[in-house]
Symmetry: C2
Subunit: 329 residues, 2 copies
């Protein structure tokens, strides 16, 4: 998870071991973490500054609690995290001196690597994580019996896992990968990332299948070759423009999928999508498009689409609703 | 409003006269509108196609209801709407032949004008709306005693209002403007649009003041000149990058605002903002920035920020919470 409220929601739904791969900052967030720990959660967060370590030590010692923290190792020009080994070691000593804090591992995020050869940079970063963790272990700075070593977003998890395996990490550490996009996968950015994973790992037989779709109806066919659909930035993420997948004729009880070959979203406004249609209705198979046709779209990416909806429907292959799920964020 | 569920939410909160400035498409949406009408709402929606007119007539006559519709006049290359006067007149005849439909006005949206001289195009479009409405009136195609003539988003409402006034519309029609962004205003796109309104209308003494802010804390200061703040695309709209407004020291009971002069958001990830700080801490007035500092950001634009939150806090000048408001979408 990335925030204290997200951890609370997960705990309320039965997840007892919580890794917040982010800094725990602010009294309100610390209070949430403290309540989770008091309620029995095995809670971890990350630190990357003396200032934050001091704040956490003060708060958790006042509450009579011990907080498990992982040091974040970042990279120059990256996001959060200590910039080099010396910083990590100094911070570990500081944590060691604080009774309220338990150094329980090392954390990184390789999704912000730069450069022309990201594959090489990601592997180099993963090795750096391993070496820094081994240094901390050697200096007996971990207080946790099974320290965590964790990295990986949804694009490079195979490389991170590969380095962790090569390093035989499992003997000293608990390796934890953190790709999130697999939950429903994606029709854009992460589909491309997944293709690259498969290209790097020929032994993998199959990749993930995107499972999140947003349905909307054609509102207007105002000009040849243009459909306006009732779906906008308020309904779907727009890191990339949504991808038309299929359409259905409203009222068709068998929900037969009709083609959207050649359809292309060209613009997304708050409540409307502009869809360019191929020249000639014949080209579309499945009959002339009509006002009211229901179009399924793929989103990129899922997290920002979840934000838009308070309820998601789990459907079977015939689009029958099997379960209505409530989103928490 | 733009959708049937939005109209239902407004009605549930006491709004009885509902203009859905969008096509009413699909059985589920028509059912919502029918329920609103049965519950006493004065409900209007727009139409721009024979196909949709037929669908609506079939649905509402089967339910024994009459639906008030406005014809949408669009523009070539624009969004929804009839592309010319002939199309409007033909559609009005069709509506006239349907017992279940009441032609109650003419609708337009000038926010999609193109060209080098948008001011002139917007005024020309407003005049076209007036003339088409007068044509419909002349041919006795309005069935409503006080037909609506409506246009205007949040960027050009002064020009639309100006034309409606010059045309002395009030004698024949009920003119309705539809800017929405005034509700809380904006720190980006619409602030710029508002400046242009004030430049065009020197008689206006004051413009709108932005009233929506998102607060987040500094998580990390990993390199000189860089702050990572715990606010991302999951928390704030990103049509434009958020604007840092002020900061506060956590724990300062008087909530004294500290300067963020020279701060600039350079990148927004899902849960993090990258903020470039000016060289030298001295430049920041109000003291060195610290992990935990609370930063207020302005958003562009509000609708897409509302989406992100289930509750908004109404605060006074000292940031004391006066009311917690629940969002409906």
């Amino acid at each position: 998870m990335a925030t204290a409220p997200q951890c609370r929601a997960a705990f309320q739904h039965g997840v007892r071991r919580l890794l917040m791969a982010n800094q725990l900052v602010g009294q309100a967030n610390m209070a949430i973490a403290a309540e989770l720990i008091e309620a029995g959660a095995d809670f971890y967060c990350v630190v990357d500054s003396v200032e934050n370590v001091d704040q956490l030590a003060r708060y958790f010692s006042a509450r009579g609690l011990r907080l498990q923290v992982l040091i974040e190792l970042g990279m120059p020009g990256g996001r959060c995290g200590c910039r080099d080994t010396d910083e990590v070691m100094a911070l570990a000593e500081r944590i060691d001196s604080e009774q309220a804090l338990v150094l329980a591992g090392l954390e990184g995020y390789e999704g912000v690597v730069h450069g022309d050869d990201p594959e090489r940079s990601v592997r180099a970063y993963a090795w750096q994580l391993v070496e820094v963790a081994q240094g901390l272990e050697r200096d007996a700075l971990f207080e946790h019996p099974a320290p965590l070593l964790t990295a990986s977003g949804s694009a490079w998890y195979d490389l991170i896992a590969g380095v962790f395996r090569e390093a035989r990490l499992g003997q000293q550490f608990v390796p934890v990968l953190r790709p999130g996009c697999y939950v429903v996968h994606d029709h854009g950015i992460y589909r491309q990332a997944q293709r690259e994973v498969l290209a790097r790992q020929p032994a993998l037989q199959r990749g993930l299948k995107p499972a999140l779709e947003v349905f909307a109806q054609v509102l207007s066919l105002p000009e040849p070759g243009l459909a306006i659909v009732g779906m906008g930035k308020r309904d779907i993420a727009h890191d990339q423009l949504p991808e038309p997948l299929r359409r259905y004729r409203e009222g068709d009880e068998r929900a037969r999928p009709l083609s959207v070959e050649g359809w292309r979203v060209t613009k997304l406004m708050d409540q409307h999508a502009f869809v360019r249609l191929p020249a000639g209705d014949e080209a579309m198979g499945g009959g002339r498009v009509r006002v009211g046709d229901i179009v399924a779209f793929g989103a990129s990416h899922p997290c920002l689409t979840f934000d838009k909806w308070r309820r998601l429907c789990l459907v079977d292959a015939r689009l029958e609703v099997m379960e209505v799920m409530h989103t928490c964020f």
